[in-house]
Structures are given as structure tokens and as C-alpha cells.
Symmetry: C2
Subunit: 319 residues, 2 copies
Amino acid sequence: MKQVVFGVDIGGTFSKYGLVDRTGNVLIEGSIPTDTYDNVVDYQKSLHEALEGVMIQFRDTCELKGIGFGAPNANYYKGTIEHAANLRWKGIVHFVDLFKKYYNLPIVITNDANAAAIGEGIYGGAKEMNDYLVITLGTGLGSGFVSGGELTYGFNGFAGEFGHTLALSNGRQCGCGKRGCLETYASATGIKRTVFQLMCDMTEDSELRQYNFYEITSEMIYEAALRNDPIALKAFEFTGSLLGERLADAVAITTPEAIFLFGGLAKSGEVLFKPIRESFESNLLPVYRNQIKILPSGLQDKNIAVMGASALIWKELSR
Amino acid sequence: MKQVVFGVDIGGTFSKYGLVDRTGNVLIEGSIPTDTYDNVVDYQKSLHEALEGVMIQFRDTCELKGIGFGAPNANYYKGTIEHAANLRWKGIVHFVDLFKKYYNLPIVITNDANAAAIGEGIYGGAKEMNDYLVITLGTGLGSGFVSGGELTYGFNGFAGEFGHTLALSNGRQCGCGKRGCLETYASATGIKRTVFQLMCDMTEDSELRQYNFYEITSEMIYEAALRNDPIALKAFEFTGSLLGERLADAVAITTPEAIFLFGGLAKSGEVLFKPIRESFESNLLPVYRNQIKILPSGLQDKNIAVMGASALIWKELSR
């Protein structure tokens, strides 16, 4: 019997699931809606039916070892989802306890970026590493710090909010209520905001000037940069430089062997990685220089959300 | 037989040692010079003789379980002291390997701030905590991050250099070669530099104006603050505010249950702790607010360097 786990990525609109083996092969994937369920109990009932539907096909060949969940504002210690802004289940949801009625197996939940970090360690580029950092550059900036082989959850389970450390004093307004948070600069949304700042500061023509704020995406900025658009290039340079500087400070705290960047923006290649590395090295304390790799995630084109969630169980079983 | 360990704090001028029991009682203390030994082998020979001299008195009542060292630029993983600026032994010194010829017992080395952090966990205020942070405010700013019960050493053993994260962009020149490092503001030296900046910026009279740069100490600034000296008060407010802001960012990464401040400056009480706490809380991400304690070290008036070094062994034996 092949050992397998379910990974479930709970998003605001859809929840994606996948049946994953120990080496990261996704045997089957599927999804159910999330936002049609007012009540988490009804949601879990539907999810359970979907998972059972999948297991019918694999019952004779696979042994299910557990179910891992990635969700916004999830708390690993308590098995809860707490005040998640983009989910309909308000307050503190005891997600794992509630789901245990369906399975007598390990069930674990954590937030998306933490799941991505564990996925990188189980299936990705950090397999041989005990100390590494995963940064997800999406709408916001998520992070998962792994030290001595263990994810840093913090005393209350909510550690790893690197996106909300200060990048620039009195800087951009952040959704969290503070100003100048790193994710207001280094994220898909952040680089878009930078483009608008540069369209104001610079006089050069740019293909990006023909689009309004809602139209522009980080992919369009990347495409423009490939065509040597001056504003797009400058936006990547600014974003990379600021992120590199902040990563140098993260190194002074946890000193990872490598930093993995994941997400749409991280697919931009050297146009982003070059300014990151330059700024990173020049801001590092000398004792750390020329030792720490900044790499694209080893799971870049895979469904890291589902895989990361599934990896939680392999991690749990390895204890 | 009472179980005991030696803690040895290797300083530039003197090396202090103490025989310490599991609850932190220092049975005896002593010291040998450090800077009279060109050669680490000769130093270790003298140290061994000193320790043996101590053990003669305790041979019948105590069982020696190991020897822990705190030293600048020490590497826990490799047992080395590497390029320590204030020691005469240059390059990479394989300190632990060399000292093993004297004892068939656990011998461990780490840097001073890491040792202080482990001491806080074994003997001090963090006995019941798995996630905490110790900041030592001395000539510089040292730090030891403990996550999930383990000190964060980083992949190369040199993690925990919080004093060299950025506090102010293009700020003060730091001894490390960078600018704006936190320790150029939040340390005994840092607050002195701040006083000189304020003597330039402000017009108010101050008792501190009668001293030159070499004369002023952080104790004098504290004494002046107690007498409501406007420049001294402002210096503490600025120092505390900046440190509080930076500690809020550290929380976003590792989320400790408590932050312990140790060292001369940390004895300043509310004149320092009040601005730290105010700035800390207002810079925290909402999910962390009103949960994380900022406390003076539980070992404040003890010899934390020797005790911390000794604690390394209890920590090692608890694995």
C-alpha cells in the first residue's frame, strides 16, 4: 500500500485538495467552493464527502495517513482559524477539533506561508536544510521561518509575519493598520503601487501609463520590464533592493542557509533576483556574506498551497 | 553527590569561572587573565589548573557534569572562536576540541548573548517558556532568540545578531562597517552618542554638558534622568522608542512570549522600559498586542556571563 495524505488549501472562494505521496506526486486534485458555506460544519461535511469520493478510487492501493490544511489566520497549536478576513466563518473556528469527527488520523492546520515553508522542506529545494526561509510574494508577503529543522510558530502560533515588519518609516499605508510594512512594497500589490509612484516621479514614457490602477498586474510590469520599459525596470530595481535590504536583517536574526522566493512575482527571474542579491549582500553583516543563497522555490510551478498543506502531515509523522 | 558544572566567561582581559549547581547557585567563583596568553594552548593549560584547583575542594561532595564557555564570536556547532577582535588568538581557534584533552565530559561554547539566553531559560525568568528573546544592552547590543525551546543558532552557528539590524536608514556608523545598526542607538554606547546628538540639537541646560565624550557613562545619564535632566530624559525616550519599534519587528518574525532585557542600561527601570513598551505596543501587528511581556532579566544582578555559560551544559544534558 502506498502511503498518502490529503493536502487542503482553504481559500476565500475555493478550497483545493490533493492526494499526495511522500515524494510529492499529486495523485489526484479537486476542489469545492468555500464561500457558499455560512457554516463551517456544513463546509466540513461537503469536504469530507469530496475526500471520501476520492478515496473510493484509491482504497485498494493507498493508505491515508492524515490530512493537512493551509488556511488564512490558522493556528497550528490550537487547530483554529481565527478572525480570517476573507472567510465567512467569523471569530475563532475550532477547525481541527470539528473535523476530527470524520477521521481518526493526524489532522493539522497552519497558515499558507508556513505550509509552503514545510512543503519546501519536504518536497522542494530545502530537503537537506535545517535552517531556511520561505517568502511568498503574492497579493501580500507571507513568510515561514525554519530554524533547527522546526518551523518557528512563536509562543501563540502566529509567528512569521515578516511582511509586516517595517520597510520604510512613515511609508505606505498597510491593510494591517500600520504604515511602511514590507508587503506594501514587496508583493504583487506592492510593485503595482511602486509603478504608480514612479509614473508620478519620472517623466519617461512607459507602456504602463496607459493602464489604470485596477488593470495593472505584476505580470504586466514584468512583461514591460522585459521590453526595457524604464518605469517597469525601475520598479523591479526598487522592489528588489528594498526586499534584499530587509532579508539581510532577517538573516541577522535567524541566519538561514537559503531564502526561497515563491509566488507570481518570484517568477520574474533575474529582473527581480539581481537587485535583491546586490542589496542583500551589501546589507549583510560581513560574517554572513557570500554564504546565503537566494533561490526561487523548488515548487515554483506546482500547487504549493495543496502540497504544503499535505507536507504538514509528513512533517508530523516524522517526529 | 551534588551535580555541578563549570561556567567560563572568556573576556578580552579576564576569564571568569564559576562552579554552578542545577538551580543556579554559584558555589565558588574565580578568574584568570586572558590577555597574557599569546597562545590558546597555554591559556587552556592555566584554566585547567585553575578549575582543578577548585575541584579539589568539591571532589567529595560534587560531581562535575561538564564545562560551558561563553566567548565572543564563538560557534556552537563547531566549538570554535572565530576572528574575535578583542582576543589575542587570531583566526579560527578550535577551542572545544583542544580543551577536550583535559576532560571526558560535555564541553560546549557559544557567544555571550546566546549563553545569557540559555541562562535565562535554565535559571531565570524564562524557566517555563519555550519562546523568548534575551537582549543584552552593554557596550553593544547582543541577542539570543529561543524558539520552540531551542536557541536559534542558524545554519552556520552565527545567528542572533539583532544589534546589527537596521534601526535608521543612513544612520550612525557602526563598528561592523554598516550604518544605522540598532546597537549604535540601543546600548550603553548608543545612548551616550544620543546624548551628544541632543546636546547639539537642544538648547536646554544639562548637567551632562560639563562632561566630555570619554567621561560620560550610561549610569551618569541614568542618574541625570532621575534628576529630571531634560537631555537625559530625552535620550532615554529616544533610545526606548527606537528599541521598542525594532522589538515589534522581531516579534513579527519569532513571536516570543517575553523579551528580557539585561545589562547596565536595562537597570534603568521605567525611564527606559516605559518608552520601550509604548513604542513596542504601538508598532506591533494587532494580533500580537497586549500579550508580550518586556521584562528585566531574572538574572539582572547576577553574573549572567558565567551562569549562562554554565547553563549550556544543563541544556545539553536535557536533550
